[in-house]
């Protein structure tokens, strides 16, 4: 089979998985595995795998909010509302538990609403420290991860040994490395990997055992590496935001000949840019990984300007001609950091556009117009 043919086949496997989380969940449960729902952000999934269970990403879903209206006024991020909606509609019934972090002002009440609304599902609360680097911050992370570990052990009915956790960390570091490599290759081969495919490959990792995902992705990466250098004539963009999995929005990028060469997306690169470091104690290693996390609107930046600078550099290093910011509606952290990001991009002479969206969005006309105009700006600048 030609490389293009093999790539197409592999990509369609990722597409199917990314579009059918329900089937994946049912498959794991039917196979005797327990699955744990992992809400945004920075859940130490390694602990779930170490307990021989499958972490399952819950980042809302495209749809309509009905039942969750009993818990939230309309002015809340749809990821949180749709996560609750899924649970209220019984879509999470096959999970054996959920881990809910509390890093933003919508996740705080979501943890409480979820616990109140879905009492039958084992609920694991997670608080991350913002002063995460100082020794007391690392100790705090360790203590919270230890709570998560204990709860997972109760659900799994087995203790997580250091050996289990070290193995899991290795699998995750391999997965992160493969995903980082794929992000580079997808940016280099736009003819082979559309923005929709790119999203499906990255999103499917949330619904698969990471070792299985890495195995498939390693094949894909190997095939992509055999492709000749692309002479792509379209625009090279950097995507920024919480989510970038809307097929409608991604199709508009494709329609305007845009290739995603790098991203600052919470569900994508922000989740896998940093490996767990080597340490004798694997729980310390996990806490040190969180201590090292940075450049994220969800995280306190003691040095104040690192995120805008990071994105400017990321764009430059990857040859991005412009930045498309997918602004999740009602997301305070993204909105609060937008002016600084815009200012830094303007100063660096990198064009940017902010596209408002949420998971209930049906009409993409305005986004289409904005992105068409943006593509024109980029080609005029070339």
């Amino acid at each position: 089979m030609s490389a293009i043919g093999a790539i197409g086949e592999l990509l369609s496997q990722f597409d199917v998985i990314a579009a059918n989380p329900k089937a994946q969940l049912e498959k794991y449960v039917a196979g005797g595995k327990k699955a744990i729902g992992c809400f945004p952000y920075y859940v130490p999934e390694e602990l779930v795998k170490a307990a021989d269970m499958v972490p399952f990403g819950i980042w809302g879903a495209e749809g309509t909010i009905n039942a969750a209206k009993e818990y939230f006024a309309p002015f809340y991020c749809t990821i949180a509302q749709m996560g609750l909606e899924l649970a209220l509609n019984g879509k999470l019934n096959k999970l054996s538990g959920v881990i809910l972090p509390s890093m933003c002002d919508t996740l705080r009440p979501l943890t409480q609403n979820f616990r109140a609304a879905i009492p039958q599902l084992p609920f694991i609360f997670l608080a991350h420290p913002q002063n995460r680097r100082a020794p007391y911050g690392v100790e705090y992370t360790k203590s919270q991860y230890a709570n998560v570990k204990k709860s997972l052990e109760a659900i799994a009915g087995k203790a997580i040994t250091d050996g289990d956790l070290k193995d899991s960390i290795r699998v995750y570091n391999e997965s992160r490395a493969a995903r980082r490599k794929f992000v580079k290759l997808a940016g280099q081969h736009p003819e082979a990997v559309s923005p929709m495919h790119r999203s499906a490959v990255l999103k499917s990792a949330y619904f698969m055992d990471k070792a299985d995902h890495t195995a498939l992705l390693t094949q894909l990466n190997a095939q992509l590496e055999t492709l000749p250098k692309s002479d792509w004539k379209g625009s090279r963009i950097l995507l920024s935001g919480i989510l970038a999995d809307s097929r409608n929005l991604l199709q508009i990028l494709a329609d305007n000949n845009m290739v995603v060469v790098a991203d600052d997306v919470a569900q994508q690169s922000r989740a896998f840019r940093l490996d767990v470091p080597e340490a004798d104690d694997p729980m310390t290693a996990l806490a040190l990984q969180f201590a090292g996390q940075d450049y994220d609107v969800l995280l306190y930046d003691p040095e104040l300007n690192k995120r805008p600078e990071y994105i400017v550099n990321l764009a430059r290093e990857n040859g991005a001609e412009g930045v498309v910011i997918l602004m999740m509606q009602f997301c305070d952290p993204e909105e609060m950091e937008y002016p600084s990001l815009k200012q830094a991009l303007d100063k660096a002479d990198i064009p940017s556009v902010s596209i408002g969206f949420d998971q209930q969005m049906r009409d993409f006309g305005q986004a289409r117009t904005q992105l068409q105009a943006f593509a024109d700006v980029l080609s005029a600048k070339r």
């Binding site: 009440p109 943890t111 608080a127 937008y338």
Partner: protein, 409 residues
Amino acid sequence: MSENPEKKEAKVLLREIVDRVYQSAWDAKNRGEPVGWSSSKFPAEIAEALGLAVCYPENQAAAISAKHGGQRMCEYAESLGFANDICGYARISLAYAAGAECEEKPMPQPDFLLCCNNICNCMTKWYENIARMRGVPLIMIDVPYNNTTEVSEETVAYLKGQFQDAIRQLEKISGRKWDEKRFEEVCQNSNRTAKAWLKACSYCQYSPSPLSGFDLFNHMADVVTARSKPETAAAFELLAQEYEQAVKNGTSTLPYEEKYRIMFEGIPCWPELRALFKPLKAKGINTTAVVYAPAFGFVYNNLDEMMRAYCKAPNSVCIETGVDWREGICRENNVDGVLVHYNRSCKPWSGYMPEMERRFRKDLGVPVVGFDGDQADPRNFSEAQYATRVEGLFELMEANKLEANRGGK
């Protein structure tokens, strides 16, 4: 009373205390000393012990809003790129830090920032933005959200570590050495203020109440800006004495007859105080419970307890604690109903309210009605909707009272 030779009323003293906080900040600025901006529930004891002048952006934003400058300032922040659904206080404060003109409540620009996110996470990014705009250091005390009614040892240890770092940073900024004795004195003052505040608030339990609950919203400025000062404690003690006397005399600061008693849930819509008050007055409704009473009652006996006290802010406690506080004051103060402000500026606060509403109805057996509003941006408030909702609450309370009276006969 030696602290009050002119026998001024407590409300006059309380107003003067807040004025002095801001005047002291201007004086410090003029002397070339550093001035800080602090979030309202940052451990105020630290800066006070080091003799640093501090201003309070939340208090400033509330004052600007009450004087109808909120919309102008919010729009200024929006012109800088801040979305219009970001907290109105944050938008006002960011506008001011960016140099927007503001005659309603000017205060000196900051030389350092004190941020504690026990109130909300928005605070973290709000202060980071100010630090960037002004190029000043930010001292951050992070209070992770708590899912249980108890504060864990691990959280206390984490907070203590940050507390010690904050002291070291502020020693540098102030150029003064930390004095443990002075700190203890300041803590004693803060405790005295907190206790006096709680005592004053407790007079809402009398029927009729000797005070209009809306008075507490005004006096909150002192608990926010000056809780570590002895004169604040003395003024609240005087306020409590005045209420005590009013109970004996059968008088009240409420300018109409109290027929019904409610809890007003949430921060008031500062730009619309008159509109908020109007239908309450028309129906003889007094606010006898506000969650700010327990929310600012930081009482502690040692450093560990102090850390735990600062974990107890309305948006950092779990739903059980939040419900417990509110139902406690509703019961103590005999409310007939609850009016819930769905505050567009406060996602963490409003995010619990539908579930809390259900619990209030079930546990207290009182009607609960919500309305849409905003603590600072008048564009998010509709006077007509508010009046209709208050009318609805009144009718439900009236029906309950009729039924109770019938049952009584």
